[in-house]
Amino acid sequence: MRRDSDIPSSIDWTTVSLYLALVTLGWLNVFAAVYDENAKQSIFDLSLNSGRQLLFIAASGFIALAITIIDMRFYETFAYILYGIILVVLVMVPIIGKEVGGNKAWIGIGSFGLQPSEFAKCITALAVAKYIGSVGFRMDNLRNQAALFIMIGLPMGLILLQKDTGTALVFTSFVLVFFREGMSPFLLIVGLCAAAIFVLTLLIPNPVYLHIAIGIVWIALMVMGKKKIKRMVLLTVGALLISGVIESVDYVVHHVLKPHQQNRVKALINPDADPLGFGWNVTQSKIAIGSGGFWGKGFLKGTQTKFDFVPAQSTDFIFCTIGEEHGWIGSLIVVGLFVALLLRIIFIAERQKNRFARAYAYSVACIFFFHFAVNVGMTVGLFPVIGIPLPFFSYGGSALWGFTMLLFILLKLDAHRGQVLQRI
């Protein structure tokens, strides 16, 4: 147990400081989001989100402490078992869970609800890291790759069954981890191209114009380049493929996506089309943030978030409160803190001496990054509305605990990085 007593000196206090700063700011903003001037409320009032959030934060402290006390080998050793357990729980949720806000993603324990999907991220990260770190794993091996995709696909699918699209999408961030661990960038590039085509298809109402554009590019390339048979065939096949993708995107948008999902995508592209209907969230969110100006309206002085113009203002749209009350300066600080945390995690990841720890660290970075990018992107109108929390800020116990676990398991692994066998 000697090595455990070294924890205070070996833990990465920079990350802990960033964590504490984010959690504290988050707590203050949860209070600001629900604050009612007339009611003379206290930030500690347990009937308010802020009071309960403080309880969650306290609990997070215990969780963090417990994580650092537990033997570091536990996480790698029990990764698959935990993964199995969480899959079973996720299967159970739609059956025994209670419905909150249209998503059946909660398990009730007394008056409290837990969201297993929040913990699934952390556990999947452990399992994926363990698999990547296992002896004989090769990223260029297709079977190994397939196994990884199945590993992230299973929880993702189960969460999709709970109709929690946002959390399910978080699991796509593991693809970035695979990329770091050696997967060919081809998949990423194809993905990015598909996304670009997807957005273009949405921006241009009639796909015919896109087909014509592709046709023109195809003719230009055919005429200008070398007239080799292989190249011409490839170009033709490529052009046909892209046209096919466009058609299928069009089909997906209009037939596969549910109307409210279609609207969220439409709202992103043109929120002014129906500011009171599907554009409401984005419009109100932008109004709240935009009204903050450079310096903000001041703590507890916001009108847009407090008076409920912004939906879910203490959870998914918590960033609006920051933008409104603390202006661009406040946004700068929060965005800066997040980027600093992400870079710090990458720094920690790169100093790990085994693949398990490094893959896990990258998983943490990618999950945080996904949450941060999608959540802030959605509130400023750069991304469709996808209901996922802003780590450490959004009100909610499960999410906070999930993120705390993600981060502190990493810190625990990092604290013991000198004691592990080199397996990179």
Binding site: D36, E37, N38, L176, F179, R180, E181, G182, P275, L276, Q284, K286, I287, A288, I289, G290, S291, G292, G293, F294, T303, Q304, K306, F307, D308, F309, G323, E324, G327, W328, S331, L332, V335, G336, F338, V339, L342, L343, I346, E350, Y362, A365, F369, F372, A373, V376, G377, V380, G381, L382
Partner: protein
């Protein structure tokens, strides 16, 4: 093979952070639109409509006041859980009506707004309001806006008071100072329009913070930007309400007008336009329906005859002719003219009257001759230029009585009347020459002359004052200062020497004591001076005209009465005028038979 991938992550993380900060800088610092939108979101502008000024009579009796009225407004954005069946039940609508209301709202493309209050139901009745006020919380997004509408203590004076209605699109367009908003009330005619500026007061605005459900969360910045509404100024009119009511009673069933003026001040004691309407008809919810009815009435009750009806003045004009001729010294009071009735007809048994006798007997030949001497004074080289010079001089005198141009009463739509000028005849005769023989019918108030009843009354007041008048006006006191507009305190002198008016006054007394007016206009205990007029209107019955003032010394009332198709001036108009004078001076009707005669209205028998 994994070289450089770490850097890709670092670059992407930093890049995304930068993109967010740039985007945030755009919406927070560069684009001001959002701050404004935030205000319109959370700050509710509550308009406080001011009380419109009250209108009182000369004895401080209330004539026009305000009564509360309630509109139902809707903010579309705030509407939720709308139960149309319940709504219809509360507001007594049918479902198709309700649907139509929503459709109409949406159809107003420009004015439609999801965030601004729009009028949904106008002017709820008191019962509707009482019933719905309790249940309004069942319909989020609907609010009651209280305003006031006009109410009247009397059915009289409709045309002088005018009416108030919603500001029209055209008026909004012309409202450069941006005082009015759609749905505001504005005075559309009468005193309400003329004194709109004084009556309207100033709207107040309160800014209230509210949350997304529209629930008020207190005042915005402690009411720093709130303004109180300022009530409009009260108006004290010069109307004697009792006299007015009596006049309207006498004019019932007749077309024409009565204008009574206090000569010493120009204050209008009574202004009756017949037929009239009940001013209460043009208020509140019934406005549109009633306005259509009233404006389509063939008797034109909205036509304000005292200042809009241009009539030939008839024989009352002979007084002005006499003054003009005396002033130009073409006759003296003693000049006698033989009533030969060759060129122009006459009536009655007189043969060779002096000026007073000519007025008392309304001798046409006398005034024809007097005008000929006045026009043809030999100042020109030939009859044509002579007539031109003479007419010009004649015009100056006649215009100085207030004929031929708007007097400037404090009511809109006053008409000029017509006093022909040389230019007028040039045009009428297509620039061919004309001379006295072409224009002589103006001598006896027929021909081209047109005057409005207000000018006739003002003329009576001018004679009563022996040579000057104050512009007749209806409002003698505005607001706390209780003064009329400055221009109503200026004397306007005629071009006639005061001494000459003595002759006119003598003659007018003679008309009532012994002349054409002796049967109907003569009053015991007071000397009335008057002049009858019977305006030819073939083939229809003549119009009956009478002007008068009383008492002869220190006159307190000057009056003109014009009864369309009333026959001889000595009957209908003289009776009404004398009853009005009696009512004003003695506060009673002492000759019931005359009143009965007037009320029966059979003047032609």
């Amino acid at each position: 093979m994994n070289e450089g991938r770490k850097e890709i992550f670092q670059i992407v993380f930093v890049l995304v952070g930068l993109i967010f900060l740039v985007k945030l800088f755009f919406i927070q610092v560069i684009d001001n639109r959002y701050a404004e939108l935030a205000n319109s979101n959370s700050i509710l502008r509550v308009v406080e409509y001011p009380f419109r000024g009250l209108i009182k009579d000369r004895n401080e009796k209330l004539i026009v006041y305000n009564t509360p009225e309630y509109d139902l407004q809707v903010i579309m954005k705030d509407v939720s859980h709308f139960d149309s069946v319940k709504f219809c039940e509360v507001f007594h609508l049918t479902l198709p009506e309700l649907r139509k209301r929503f459709k109409d709202l949406k159809a107003k493309k420009k004015e439609y707004s999801a965030v601004k209050p729009m009028r949904f139901l106008e002017q709820l009745s008191a019962e509707d309001w009482a019933r719905s006020a309790d249940r309004l919380d069942e319909f989020p997004g609907f609010y009651i806006q209280a305003r006031t509408t006009r109410a009247y203590t009397t059915t009289a004076l409709a045309n002088a008071l005018g009416y108030v209605s919603e500001v029209s699109k055209e008026q909004l367009r012309q409202d450069a100072a941006n005082i009015y908003k759609q749905g505001d009330y504005i005075g559309q005619s009468g005193i309400e329009a003329f004194y709109e500026e004084q009556l309207r007061g100033k709207r107040g605005v309160r800014f209230r913070l509210r949350d997304v459900k529209g629930i008020e969360k207190g005042s915005f910045k402690n009411g720093e930007y709130d303004t109180l509404s300022i009530p409009g100024q009260d108006l004290t009119t010069s109307i004697d309400l009792d006299l007015q009511l009596y006049g309207e009673k006498l004019m019932r069933g007749k077309a024409g007008s009565i204008v009574a003026i206090e000569p010493a001040t120009g204050e209008i004691l009574s202004i009756v336009s017949g037929p009239s309407y009940d001013p209460a008809l043009l208020t509140g919810k019934k406005y549109s329906a009633n306005f259509k009815l009233i404006s389509q009435d063939t008797m034109k009750p909205l036509f304000n005859r005292p200042l809009m009806a241009q009539y030939r003045p008839g024989s009352i004009f002979k007084i002005a002719q006499a003054m003009t001729a005396l002033q130009e010294k073409v006759i003296t009071p003693e000049t006698r003219i033989v009533c030969d009735r060759t060129i122009i007809g006459c009536h009655g048994p007189h043969t060779n009257e002096d000026l007073r006798g000519a007025i008392a007997n309304s001798c046409n030949v006398y005034f024809y001759t007097a005008l000929r001497r006045m026009i043809n004074q030999g100042k020109g080289s030939d009859p044509f230029s002579d007539a031109r010079i003479g007419l010009k001089e004649w015009d100056q005198h006649i215009n100085s009585f207030g004929f031929g141009n708007k007097l400037g009463i404090d009511l809109p739509n006053e008409k000029d009347g017509l006093i022909p000028t040389p230019a007028y005849y040039d045009k009428a005769y297509n620039n061919r020459p004309w001379k006295f023989s072409n224009i002589y019918s103006i001598a006896i108030g027929e021909g081209e002359n047109l005057v409005v009843p207000l000018q006739m009354a003002n003329f009576a007041a001018t004679v009563a004052n022996r040579g000057y008048y104050y512009i007749p006006h209806l409002v003698k006191g505005i607001g706390k200062e209780n003064k009329p507009l400055p221009r109503y305190t200026e004397r306007h002198y005629t071009t006639i020497d005061s001494a000459n008016f003595k002759i006119a006054v003598d003659a007018m007394q003679q008309v009532v004591d012994a002349g054409t007016g002796q049967w109907y206009a003569h009053l015991p205990d007071v000397v009335v001076c008057g002049k009858t007029g019977t305006v030819q209107n073939d083939p229809f019955p003549a119009h009956s005209v009478f002007i008068a003032f009383a008492p002869r010394n220190n006159p307190r009332i000057a009056i003109s009465v014009y009864v369309e198709h009333g026959g001889q001036g000595a009957r209908a108009a003289a009776s009404i005028a004398s009853l009005m004078i009696e009512q004003y001076l003695f506060k009673q009707t002492r000759r019931q038979y005359i009143e009965d005669y007037v009320l029966a209205g059979k003047f032609l028998d």
